[in-house]
């Protein structure tokens, strides 16, 4: 182990021929400084982060949905059959709240498009509308959970109820976090922290919001509609 490398036969030692002091290997170039290097891909770091996170979240919901599908019709080994979540579904009610959630994707798009054009007031309006629609969906879920509970389907009652509440509850948590982010965005735009130059921030939150909606389409189809 030496400080200066010894030379092998493949590379006979020749001192750098000309010049008094050796050139550094990586001098200043036309790239000049890190300030001007664009991202290697066409996506910004923030957006790529959100896409990666959403990819990861797919697996989270994938595992939860698989768990529900495995367990939804399980019955106790002995005794009489226990209550299942599917026995209590109110499809028309859930359809309406699902519709509200899906429409919120439209207003989210309008918010993104508004800030891209620099119309901050309009963007704020659409952000609040989106958040409000999310809140309606969450209210619907709270109502659904309460009525199921009143009809005897507690979290611990059966294996199917545990799986149902966990899956839909996790989706509800995702929607709630989305609402918090939307309201925070609204407040930050309101106080001028986010201006038109940060339109991408709204777009990224929009990605998350659309993802949560798409997941709900899957959950609604798989859990509620397919018997």
């Amino acid at each position: 182990m030496t400080d200066t490398p010894t030379t092998g036969s493949t590379a006979a030692a020749v001192e750098p021929a000309e010049g008094d002091e050796p050139q550094i290997a990586y001098p200043r170039t036309e790239w000049d400084d890190y300030e001007i290097i664009p991202p290697t891909t066409s996506l910004s770091n923030e957006k790529l982060t959100m896409w990666t996170f959403l990819g990861s979240d797919c697996l989270l919901f994938g595992a939860l949905i698989s768990t529900y599908l495995l367990l939804r019709n399980r019955q106790p080994l002995s005794g009489e059959g226990s209550l299942k979540a599917a026995d209590l579904f109110d499809i028309p009610f859930t359809s309406v709240s699902s519709f509200v959630l899906l429409m919120s994707s439209l207003t989210m798009v309008l918010a993104v498009s508004a800030i891209a054009r620099g119309e901050m007031e309009r963007c704020k309006l659409w952000l609040l509308t989106t958040a409000a629609q999310g809140a309606v969906f969450i209210a619907g879920q709270v109502y659904e959970f309460t009525s199921f509970y009143r009809e005897g389907l507690g979290f611990t009652v059966s294996i199917s109820s545990s799986a149902f509440y966990t899956l839909t509850g996790f989706h509800g948590v995702h929607v709630s976090l989305g609402i918090i982010m939307l309201v925070t965005l609204w407040a930050m735009i309101n106080r001028g922290i986010i201006g038109p130059e940060r339109a991408e921030t709204v777009e990224i939150i929009g990605l998350y919001w659309h993802f949560v909606d798409i997941v709900w389409i899957v959950i609604f189809a798989v859990v509620y509609l397919i018997p």
């Binding site: 290997a25 990586y26 790239w31 790529l48 990861s56 768990t67």
Partner: protein
């Protein structure tokens, strides 16, 4: 060149002072007094001493802290298994109780996997990936710090179980009905489930961050197939982490809900399926195996060419094999479950895929051997560890192929043969690779070499002790000694080999003591000026990290490197002459960057460590009292907002001297997104996305 003063977030910073006024105040020396109040705290500006480490967002300091923590947990995990080896010294051992024995081997496995090898790989990845791709830092420096501190608190949380009623006792893979309240009534499994959850959040944050860094922040000319193999393997590992962690997250959530809220997921009376946990765990668990080994593969793919003085044999093949392992790693998980009764079709399918995955692994081993073949091999300490990885991992890999044959596996499962197998791949493979990396990059990180003679002692004792410990386990395993049993009988015939294995354990323990002595002694000698500095390029290296001074200056590169080849730095030192023969044209130490520039860097921040503190509080709350969880949640949400409102780079620190790069080493970092980058992305980077990602992680 960006003129940092006109950044929108500095003009509109929430402290309310008008745009422009504060920008003039910010002379290079004026920070400290007028540091802006963003949120609750004044921003740490010129932190020194321990504060410098606590609030840093520098990827190099974070990497070093990951490494130090990993070595600490390595000591704990190693001592835990020492008691197990003492218990097995003689038949009918009475050193420890069966219950304590269960806790020891469980916590040993959990500690070594989640608190030692993963963070060790993370240490190298954090330190080296930005250097190898020619970047100034990772994509989100504060998120990087957050990952470290969550991991820090997660490890402590997990191990606090020792003092609060005993450690987890269900084995590291914690098969579920067995780890439910009925069979594991103590709090150990709660700490396991929540502690791994916390560590998982840390890993996920780090994985997303590194993935974005590698994909998006490579220097000009660094196409994917010019990336160093280590960075490549880290990229593959981050993909595996991003997609594997949510699955264990779900499994641990189900277990926690069962234990804490009386859910029925693993309640067999209610109709549960015990295979659910096994599938969920191993869908995570098998990619996890590659998460543990691929970084070590990356390390030796760097060291073997350097110390053989040859380029890596078949660079694209090695890279593609690594990626292939990453893909195929998703299709083999059920080979951990051959005896669970899942049916002949599944067993046959997973048996076949498991044999297939040996192919890319074997390709790599052949490439490494071909790299050394006819090279001018220098047997330095990192080289010795690297060569031992190739040899030892091959042994472990071969016994792995034996397990792929389902009928044979049925005989071997739950015996010490399995224990021998995975210790050969994880100690002989992953850990040897990590040691190689330690000796190899130590001069880069600290500016001096670890002592060579002590390093050789460390290596030989480690190699000897390792084989003496785990070699005999093949034999007793095939003789039928079951793992996880705290005693064996006097006439079972296992005594001799168990005594040998215990002796081997103490050889390895001595090796580790030598490593510790080496680290502290050399450090002390260096501080007293008795150790020579290593120079920028002590090993005649091939990748970009050797083109900058050792230890690496805070800003990494003076100027953005522009590369045009694999092993670009090596080509700056060697060029073919008229006859086509390669000749040295320069020495690395002479042509390395000098490190005399002082560009803007990301500012330190309190929020990562404050936010991370919320995590263990939530954990305690779920175990003991939900009010504590409420406090933790408040801390979490509050610091998320503080984080969001704090610009990633302190707008007040050292403005207006951006162009010639003579700022006062505080401000702006050169991430991938700047005012005038083509997509018009503004700065204030990381703020929102980081906070949303954290919000999610917390919600999960």
């Amino acid at each position: 060149m960006a003129i940092v003063t006109d950044r929108p977030d500095s003009a509109d910073s929430p402290d309310g002072s008008g745009p422009g006024t504060e920008l003039e105040v910010a002379e290079p020396d004026s920070h400290g007094d007028d540091s802006p109040r963003t949120g609750v705290f004044a921003r740490p500006t010129h932190a020194t001493g321990w504060r410098e480490w606590l609030f840093t967002v520098d990827h190099k300091k974070i990497g070093i802290m990951y490494g130090a923590l990993a070595l600490f947990w390595f000591l704990i995990g190693g001592l835990e298994i020492g008691l197990v080896r003492l218990q097995l010294w003689a038949p009918d051992g009475e050193v420890i109780s069966a219950d304590f024995y269960n806790q020891l081997f469980t916590m040993h496995g959990v500690t070594m996997v989640f608190l030692v090898i993963m963070p060790l790989a993370n240490a190298f990845a954090n330190y080296l990936v930005p250097l190898q791709i020619g970047a100034r830092d990772v994509a989100f420096p504060r998120m990087n710090a957050l990952g470290l501190w969550i991991f820090f608190f997660g490890g402590i949380f997990l191990n606090l179980s020792w003092f609060l009623g005993g450690g987890a006792d269900g084995g590291w893979f914690a098969y579920a009905p067995n780890t439910g309240m009925t069979f594991s009534p103590g709090h150990g499994m709660d700490f396991y489930a929540l502690g791994l959850q916390i560590a998982g959040i840390a890993s996920l944050l780090g994985a997303i961050n590194l993935l974005v860094t590698i994909i998006n922040m490579r220097c000009p000319g660094m196409s994917l197939l010019r990336m160093p193999v280590f960075t490549w393997m880290i990229l593959v590992v981050q993909f595996l982490l991003v997609f594997a962690l949510p699955v264990i997250t779900v499994a641990l959530i189900l277990l926690t809900f069962d234990r804490t809220f009386d859910a029925n997921f693993f309640n067999v009376d209610a109709g549960a399926d015990p295979l659910l946990w096994q599938h969920l765990f191993w869908i995570f668990g098998h990619p996890e195996v590659y998460i543990l080994i691929l970084p070590a593969f990356g390390v030796v793919s760097e060291t073997l060419p350097v110390f053989s003085r040859k380029p890596l044999f078949g660079y694209p093949i090695v890279v593609l094999s690594g990626a292939a392992i990453g893909f195929m790693g998703w299709g083999v998980w059920a080979h951990h479950m051959f005896t669970s009764g899942m049916g002949p079709v599944s067993v046959a399918a997973f048996s076949a895929t498991t044999m297939f995955i040996a192919v890319p692994t074997g390709v790599k081993i052949l490439n490494w051997i071909a790299t050394m073949w006819a090279g001018k091999v220098r047997f330095t300490v990192p080289m010795m560890f690297s060569v031992s990885l190739v040899a030892m991992f091959t042994i472990g890999g071969l016994s792995g192929v034996m397990h792929a044959i389902a009928p044979a596996d049925t005989q071997q499962t739950d015996t010490y043969f399995i224990v021998a197998h995975f210790h050969y791949v994880l100690v002989g493979g992953a850990l040897m690779g990590m040691f190689a990396g330690m000796y190899y990059w130590w001069p880069k990180a600290f500016g001096y070499h670890l002592n060579d003679r002590l390093g050789r002692w460390h290596f030989w004792l480690m190699l000897l002790g390792f084989n003496v410990t785990f070699g005999p386990m093949h034999i007793v395993g095939l003789q039928g000694m079951a793992r996880r049993h705290s005693v064996y009988g006097e006439f079972d015939g296992f005594e001799f080999w168990n005594k040998i294995a215990t002796i081997g354990y103490f050889l390895m323990l001595i090796a580790m003591v030598i490593l510790a002595v080496n680290i502290f002694r050399t450090w002390g000698r260096y501080r007293r000026g008795l150790e020579p500095g290593a120079g920028a390029d002590p090993w005649d290296g091939r990748t970009l990290e050797w083109a900058i001074p050792s230890p690496v200056p805070e800003h990494n590169f003076d100027y953005v490197p522009v590369v045009s080849d694999v092993d670009d730095f090596w080509h700056k030192k060697y060029q073919p002459d008229e006859t086509g023969k390669l000749r040295r044209i320069a020495y690395g130490n002479d042509i390395a960057q000098i490190g005399d520039q002082h560009p803007h860097l990301p500012s330190p921040s309190y929020w990562p460590i404050v936010l991370a503190m919320g995590m263990p509080l939530i954990g305690f709350g779920l175990i003991y009292n939900l009010w504590i969880a409420g406090i933790g949640l408040l801390l979490l949400v509050g610091s998320m907002f503080g984080w969001t409102l704090e610009p990633a780079t302190d707008p007040d620190a050292g403005h207006g001297h951006g162009h010639d790069g003579y700022g006062d080493h505080d401000d702006d970092h050169g991430g991938g997104n700047h005012d005038d980058s083509p997509d018009g992305q503004d700065d204030g980077n990381g703020v929102l996305t980081a906070s949303t990602a954290n919000g999610e992680a917390a919600g999960d």
